[in-house]
């Protein structure tokens, strides 16, 4: 095992230990999340959609399930479970779209599992998780018709997007939907900042399950991220100081 490999394993181990530890200490040291207006507005928007008989649309992005592009989509799947529970009592349950076939299958699995857990198996439809287009811009091109046909009122982008994120968010804005959008790509985040009603900046896209109360482990992982972040900050500052001195 090389030194780099060992360092990587140690870092992963520390991350894992911190996550488990914070989850175990949650009862004694409750995790308080900082205020993010986007998620508060999202909760209210979902409630309004449920009461108004309108639909929530969740987009898991155009990234492939193989590779780092899958990470924000996996966070979106965790959020999907919560959203599906919330909308299970609505006339129009949540609908999911992706730009990747495997991600669409995962979305359908998540929906089916969630509806089974809430004893609402009849709500599951195979078309609830669908592939809109195999390429990013073809995916974006399929959004307007879907938003109109499904009577969407909450348009949520939580996945890996490229430049098509700007179009995707704009289509939701044009349809007067509540638009909350986040991506792992920095350039897409810049587009979404200008276009979306509620943009998610940085790693806020990965915090979606925690803010939707998906579980204590999700909140604990946020705290572990903060801990590792401060360690990295300290190392960076130390490195700058050392480099400057030497």
């Amino acid at each position: 095992m090389s030194a780099e490999g060992l360092q990587g394993l140690l870092a992963l181990g520390a991350f894992l230990a911190l996550t488990i530890g914070f989850a175990a200490l949650n009862s004694r040291w409750p995790i308080k999340l900082r205020h993010i207006s986007a998620f508060e507005a999202l909760n209210k928007a979902i409630e309004r959609a449920v009461e108004g008989g309108e639909r929530v649309h969740l987009s898991l992005g155009t990234g492939s399930v193989v590779g780092s592009e899958s990470a924000p989509a996996l966070a979106g799947l965790a959020a999907l479970s919560r959203i599906a529970r919330a909308t299970s009592m609505s006339d129009r349950p949540v609908v999911v779209s992706t730009g990747d076939g495997a991600m669409a299958i995962l979305a359908r699995d998540t929906l089916r599992t969630t509806y089974d857990e809430v004893n609402a198996s009849e709500l599951y439809e195979p078309t609830a998780g669908r592939l809109l287009g195999p390429t990013p811009f073809s995916y974006a091109a399929g959004l307007p018709s879907m938003l109109r046909d499904e009577q969407v009122s909450v348009h949520m982008l939580n996945g890996s997007f490229g430049y098509e994120a700007g179009l995707a968010a704009d289509f939701g804005e044009r349809a007067h939907n509540f638009v909350i959008a986040g991506s792992d790509d920095v350039q897409s985040q810049a587009l979404l900042y200008a276009v979306a009603q509620e943009p998610l900046i940085g790693e806020e896209v990965f915090a979606t399950p925690a803010y939707l109360d998906a579980g204590a482990v999700h909140k604990a992982s946020l705290r572990a991220q903060d801990a590792i972040r401060f360690i990295i900050l300290a190392l960076i500052v130390l490195g700058v100081v050392i480099e400057t001195i030497t």
Partner: protein, 639 residues
């Protein structure tokens, strides 16, 4: 043997009996006062009309024998009796029906009885028509038949003037027989009995008291009186059989005309007075309206609820002063306001007109016109870049030093949407590479990358006479993401098996891209002369740097980027140990590169349109800032 009348059924019972022999009602203290009265009445003189005390008697015929008083002295005569007698004396001539009702009663007593009878008649015959056809005055209905009878001084059976109330042939209805038999008593003097005769009066019986319930009014039919049908039906029940409201008397007999009874003092005292005395004047029967709704429909004289209930009157008790705080006042006002707003109808909001997306259309028009004008008209014209990026020279020199016998690998990792920019930027580098005669190979990690490479390379291949299959070859689509890149970096021939858009002769010969002269000596990534990654995303650039960097060896890695990806990829180039050997970013750098190369291509073709579009974007943003400023100033002025 004296008899006691049962207070319940009115039937005579021996005085020693404790309970009624007919109905079982206790004949206890309740009958004591009856017995007393009976005893007093026994001393009364019989009426001149005969044995019946109800027989009409002329006042002059009224004697005041001592034995009439039952042996009682003058002072021992009850007050009520005295009143009756007095009234009788005062009402000589039959002006008062009641005075002739019973001889021997004093006027006062007569008056009391009359008042009592008034009370009784107040709820008596339908239509309020009393005996003699007179209109009845409203009277309190406090008196019960038994009480009235007592007030009349009904005596016991030993009273010679008292004749036991003869039991009628009617069945036992539970109503006192004296009350039920309205035809028995003789009508008083001056009264016109309704069909009744003196012979109808019970022989020696108790004075008749007008029936409390529904006696047939004299001379009027049920229809004239507005009697409800059900009441009329009840009236028309079988004779002597069914119990009816008015069935206490034979249907054929007309009720006698009776004088009003006056209540004795003690009874009068029991009645609450002056508390809720109605101030409503009961109209005459003809003036009374007939109730039209509700269960009392068809009846006259129905009390109206509203005038009585809702009539404002001051409370005799001092009104309470409410203590209301300011907060409660405010809440009350708020509630009032809410109710008022709820009732008030708001004018309909003007229908929102569908607004044309003016700004969107205007900006689109400005952008399109700006980009198209230089192409169509040649103006505006923008100067070529006088300064070139500092990394441009290094890249140019790097490409200039490439060995001519080793192929260059171009990775087309961008979507067709980025064709407009990256075709021009990549074209500048391709043009130089092809100008030096280096064999070129292409690969892509996107499905649309392979045809994209074909489209872009064909443009420059034709310029330099490159032949497919010998001077350039396409490896095609490399599926699998990062793992595929790593696999390709370590074993290119294992990652790509066939190739893309191979010449027909190679296909027919069953050859792959690796069999072409371009790639026949390539077995690893380091066998290429240069690897140029063309991408619009920083993630793709980082992927190739991280996955393929270790397998490149001495082969330079060059990034051809969109302007948006430059900030994140440049650190790889400017690091102390750079992982990228060259970088070419954006259209301005491409134009400068073409300038340096001496061969202009797509970059120069799009330069003026690019400049005009950028200028239009700047103007739009400034216009937006100005628009916002104007709106702010106007809002401040209005405020």
């Amino acid at each position: 043997m004296a008899e006691i009348q049962c207070p319940n059924c009115g039937k005579p019972n021996p005085d020693t009996a404790e309970t009624c022999q007919h109905c079982g009602e206790p004949l206890g203290s309740g009958s004591d006062w009856m017995n007393e009265i009976q005893e007093q009445a026994d001393g009364m003189a019989p009426g001149p009309g005969g044995s019946s005390p109800f027989a009409p008697v002329e006042p002059s015929e009224v004697e005041q024998p001592a034995e009439e008083n039952g042996g009682l002295a003058e002072g021992e005569v009850p007050e009520w009796l005295q009143r009756i007698r007095a009234k009788q004396a005062a009402d000589e001539g039959g002006g008062d029906d009641f005075s002739a009702l019973r001889p021997g009663f004093s006027d006062e007593q007569d008056q009391e009885a009359e008042q009592g009878l008034e009370t009784v008649e107040g709820r008596g015959p339908v239509g309020g028509v009393g005996p003699g056809g007179k209109d009845q005055e409203p009277a309190d209905r406090a008196a019960e038949p038994e009480d009235i009878r007592a007030g009349f001084g009904f005596g016991s059976d030993s009273d010679p003037d008292y004749a036991p109330y003869e039991k009628s042939a009617e069945p036992d209805t539970g109503i006192p027989s004296w009350l039920a038999q309205s035809d028995e008593p003789q009508p008083p003097a001056g009264a016109q009995p309704a069909g009744g005769t003196e012979s109808d009066q019970p022989e020696g019986g108790l004075p008749h008291v007008p029936a409390l319930l529904g006696e047939q009014p004299v001379g009027l039919s049920a229809e004239e009186l507005g009697v409800p049908d059900w009441l009329g039906e009840v009236e028309q029940s079988e004779e002597g059989g069914e119990e009816t409201l008015k069935g206490r008397r034979p249907a054929a007999a007309a009720p006698p005309d009776l004088e009003r009874a006056t209540l004795p003092n003690w009874l009068e005292a029991m009645r609450p007075v002056d508390t809720f005395r109605s101030v409503v004047q009961i109209d005459a029967e003809d003036d009374q309206t007939i109730e039209s709704i509700g269960p009392l429909a068809g009846l006259r004289g129905v009390l109206m609820a509203e005038p009585v209930v809702a009539m404002p009157r001051t409370s005799t008790v001092g009104a309470m002063q409410l203590e209301v705080s300011e907060r409660q006042y405010a809440q009350a006002e708020l509630l009032q306001q809410l109710i008022t707003e709820e009732e008030s109808s708001e004018p309909a909001a003007p229908r929102r007109r569908t607004r044309l997306a003016i700004f969107r259309w205007a900006i689109a028009a400005v952008t399109v016109v700006a980009a198209a004008l230089p192409v169509l008209t040649g103006a505006p014209s923008f100067a070529l870049p006088g300064l070139e990026p500092k990394e441009l020279g290094a890249l140019f020199d790097l490409v200039d030093r490439l060995p001519p016998d080793r192929p260059a690998l171009f990775v087309f990792d961008y979507d067709p949407g980025n064709t407009g920019e990256l075709d021009a930027v990549a074209g500048a580098l391709l043009d130089q590479v092809m100008g030096r005669g280096l064999p070129v190979a292409s690969v892509s990690t996107r499905p649309t990358g392979a045809p994209q490479a074909l489209y872009t390379m064909h443009r420059y291949a034709s310029r330099h006479g490159y032949v497919e299959g010998s001077d350039m070859v396409h490896l095609g689509y490399l599926s699998g993401g990062p793992a595929a890149v790593q696999l390709f970096a370590s074993n290119p021939r294992g990652a790509i098996l066939k190739g893309f858009a191979l010449p027909e002769e190679m296909k027919s010969a069953g050859q792959t891209a690796w069999d072409s002269p371009t790639l026949e000596r390539v077995s690893s990534l380091s066998d290429f002369s240069i690897v140029a990654v063309i991408t619009a995303g920083s993630e793709t650039a980082r992927l190739w740097v991280e996955q393929a960097g270790s397998a490149l060896g001495e082969t330079p890695l060059v990034m051809v980027l969109s302007a948006a990806a430059e900030p994140l990829v440049r650190p790889y180039y400017e690091a102390s140990q750079p992982q990228i050997d060259g970088i070419l970013t954006g259209l301005p750098a491409a134009v400068a590169y073409e300038q340096r190369n001496g061969r202009f291509g797509l970059a120069l073709d799009r330069w003026n349109g690019f400049g005009a579009g950028m200028l239009a974007a700047e103007l739009v943003l400034l216009a937006g800032a100005g628009y916002g400023l104007v709106r702010w100033v106007m809002a401040r002025r209005e405020a």
